[in-house]
């Protein structure tokens, strides 16, 4: 998963002559790693939204995949710009997520988790059946069933380097993060959290919990689809097998590990896992043994993750006090 795997693309010849000692290989590796982290963060954020309303969803990878296919089809077959393709992907993801939420949202706990798992697998198999080849100059393009969907070449055709693309994904992630943080200050965001904490209490306060959960599901589907669209254009190749339940389960794991107190939590989870995975090369075959044990131990002591609600509250109080003391010392 290293982007185009083309280190020379990062550095024009002039730059290479200027800085011959610079380690271009590991720079390419770093760009690939950060792209993975950013895209996984979008998926983890979508799992986080579902956890916020008290539902554990194992099908966010399906919306990720649907978004990837939709955005890929838009640029590869209809030759629209990336922005339009991403919007189309998000629309497909959000709409599907909303439609799935309609009949499943009344389920709770394990039943909801298994229902979403079943839907995720069904959509993966459906994507494997979907063949829609469209003739172009370099032969047919489009989804080709289990063979996968090749040549999503928008970035190559428009001379977008992996570094520029990474900046684009980071900006999109920051926008999504900012919107989520804003959302949590609005009525709807508070309603989301209330629904997740105790739906009986929330509904007796007059909150339409079913509709709130459907909104959350649609939002989460859109976020996952955004990540998928970005992923498809980064790797230029997608196949249904990429969107297996393991991906969705990892996203849920990141959100739980990072914490449910704040939208930054899932990012912490992703950084810990992908960062640690990279750092734990020394363990080789034992990596999963160590990491699995660490996650289980951590969840034992911090069931709502590293950044749980009390921690977030304490941090924001600390920041507020810091600001007010500084103001006082400045004589304002």
């Amino acid at each position: 998963m290293n982007g185009y795997g083309a280190a020379p693309m990062f550095a024009p010849d002039a730059l290479r002559q200027l800085l011959p000692d610079f380690d271009y290989e590991s720079f390419a590796h770093l760009v690939g790693l950060f792209s993975d982290i950013t895209i996984m963060s979008l998926l983890a954020l979508s799992a986080y939204l579902m956890l916020l309303v008290g539902r554990i969803s194992f099908c966010q990878q399906a919306f990720f995949g649907l978004g990837a296919y939709a955005a890929g089809v838009m640029t590869a077959i209809f030759h629209v710009s990336l922005a339009v393709a991403l919007v189309a992907g998000v629309a497909v993801g959000a709409l599907t997520a909303w439609l799935v939420a309609l009949p499943t949202m009344h389920l709770a706990g394990l039943h909801y988790a298994v229902a979403t798992l079943a839907f995720g697998e069904m959509s993966r198999i459906l994507l494997g059946w979907w063949t829609w080849q469209y003739p172009s100059e370099d032969g047919p393009v489009g989804p080709a069933g289990m063979e996968g969907f090749r040549d999503i070449r928008w970035c190559l055709e428009n001379d977008v380097t992996p570094t520029e693309y990474l900046i684009l994904t980071i900006v999109l992630l920051l926008v999504a993060l900012g919107l989520l943080m804003l959302l949590e200050r609005l009525r709807l965001g508070i309603a989301l959290r209330m629904t997740g904490h105790d739906d009986l209490l929330a509904s007796s306060q007059g909150i339409p919990i079913a509709r709130v959960r459907q909104y959350a599901a649609a939002l989460a589907g859109g976020l996952a689809a955004l990540g998928g669209g970005l992923y498809a254009h980064r790797t230029t190749y997608i196949e249904p097998a990429l969107f297996d339940p393991m991906l969705g389960v990892h996203a849920v794991g990141y959100a739980l590990l990072g914490g449910l107190g704040n939208a930054l939590g899932p990012l912490v989870g992703v950084l810990l896992d992908l960062g640690l995975l990279d750092a734990m090369r020394i363990f080789q075959g034992w990596r999963m043994v160590v990491f699995g044990g660490l996650v289980a131990l951590l969840l034992r002591w911090r069931p709502r993750g590293l950044l749980d609600e009390p921690t977030v509250l304490r941090m924001s109080l600390f920041l507020r006090r810091l600001v007010s003391t500084r103001r006082a010392s400045n004589g304002i």
Partner: protein
């Protein structure tokens, strides 16, 4: 006509295998309300340990069977301690601490689910490290022939497994219904707090039940693998998925329901396989599961209150 009948029989016999896998899952998920995703991995690691002993020390098939069940028991204990018990809580020994665990919320269940998933990954990696090859021979029982009855072939090995599943599920059902210990189990499953208040040691019961269910996974995996003659790293996931579908189709917590669910799953798989191929079979399985979950009949079984033992 005969072909359809043959498909039906094959499906029913496959269903027996799924029921056998689903029994322990139904016990842990339904009766104990412990969402143990590491169930399949437990069975797999135990089977790998058995195979390792077989390859290394040429242990005989009976010894391998014992090793697998014992290993599954110990792994189950490990999973229970790590993911599902909170005995490190300072107030655990006091009644208050125990009360906290009794009122385990939805959130607690979700966290246990996630940490058991982490342990799933861990156990699977351990198994693969133990025997890195993709295909490992399993000491097999020489039952491969089938009976022909009126032009329909009945595979003896599958019949044996189906009978085993039927015997175990009926046995557990009878035990739950007709003994005093079974009564306390049902009470603990129905209403944890009420059971605790009348003096049933709910937490200990749940621990014991969890470990017993893990041992059951060892029995099931030995039975299935010894008739197949080989084990691959996909085994853990297969056990979890097929067992979970069977258990959920029949209603979690119901012992005879698992039997029904397994048979239904087997029949649906065998028909959709002949109609739509391998991918179609998978699709039909998941569609069936989704349908059963969202149909109005089950709309209230999603509530935690109605999880319990239904016979």
């Amino acid at each position: 006509m005969l072909e359809l009948l043959q498909l039906l029989v094959d499906g029913l016999l496959d269903g027996g295998v799924y029921a056998l896998l689903g029994l322990g899952l139904s016990l842990t998920f339904g009766c104990l309300k412990r969402l143990n995703l590491a169930y399949g991995a437990t069975a797999m690691l135990a089977a790998y340990i058995g195979v390792w002993c077989h390859l290394r020390y040429e242990a005989s098939i009976a010894v391998v069977a014992i090793i697998i069940v014992v290993a599954a028991t110990f792994i189950g204990w490990y999973v229970e301690q790590l993911c599902f018990s909170r005995s490190d809580d300072p107030g655990f020994q006091s009644a208050v601490g125990a009360q906290d665990r009794l009122f385990m919320t939805d959130n607690g269940e979700m966290v246990a689910l996630a940490s058991s998933f982490a342990i799933w990954m861990q156990l699977e990696q351990l198994a693969v490290n133990l025997l890195p090859r993709h295909l490992n021979p399993f000491p097999s029982m020489p039952i491969e022939s089938s009976w022909m009855i009126g032009g329909i072939a009945i595979r003896q090995d599958r019949l044996l497994l189906t009978l085993l599943a039927a015997v175990i599920s009926t046995g557990i059902s009878l035990w739950l219904l007709h003994t005093r210990a079974g009564l306390s189990w049902r009470a603990a499953s129905d209403h944890r707090t009420a059971a605790y208040l009348v003096g049933i040691p709910v937490v200990q019961l749940q621990t014991i039940g969890f470990i017993l269910a893990s041992a059951l996974s060892g029995i099931a995996s030995f039975a299935v693998l010894s008739l197949d003659g080989q084990v691959t790293p996909m085994f853990g996931m297969w056990v979890l998925f097929k067992g979970l579908v069977a258990a959920m189709l029949g209603g979690l917590g119901s012992m005879l329901g698992v039997l029904r669910g397994g048979l239904l799953l087997g029949v649906v798989e065998s028909f959709s396989q002949s109609l739509l191929g391998a991918q179609g079979r998978e699709f039909a399985t998941y569609a069936l599961l989704l349908l059963v979950l969202i149909l109005p009949r089950h709309s209230d079984s999603g509530r935690r209150a109605s999880w319990g033992i239904r016979i």
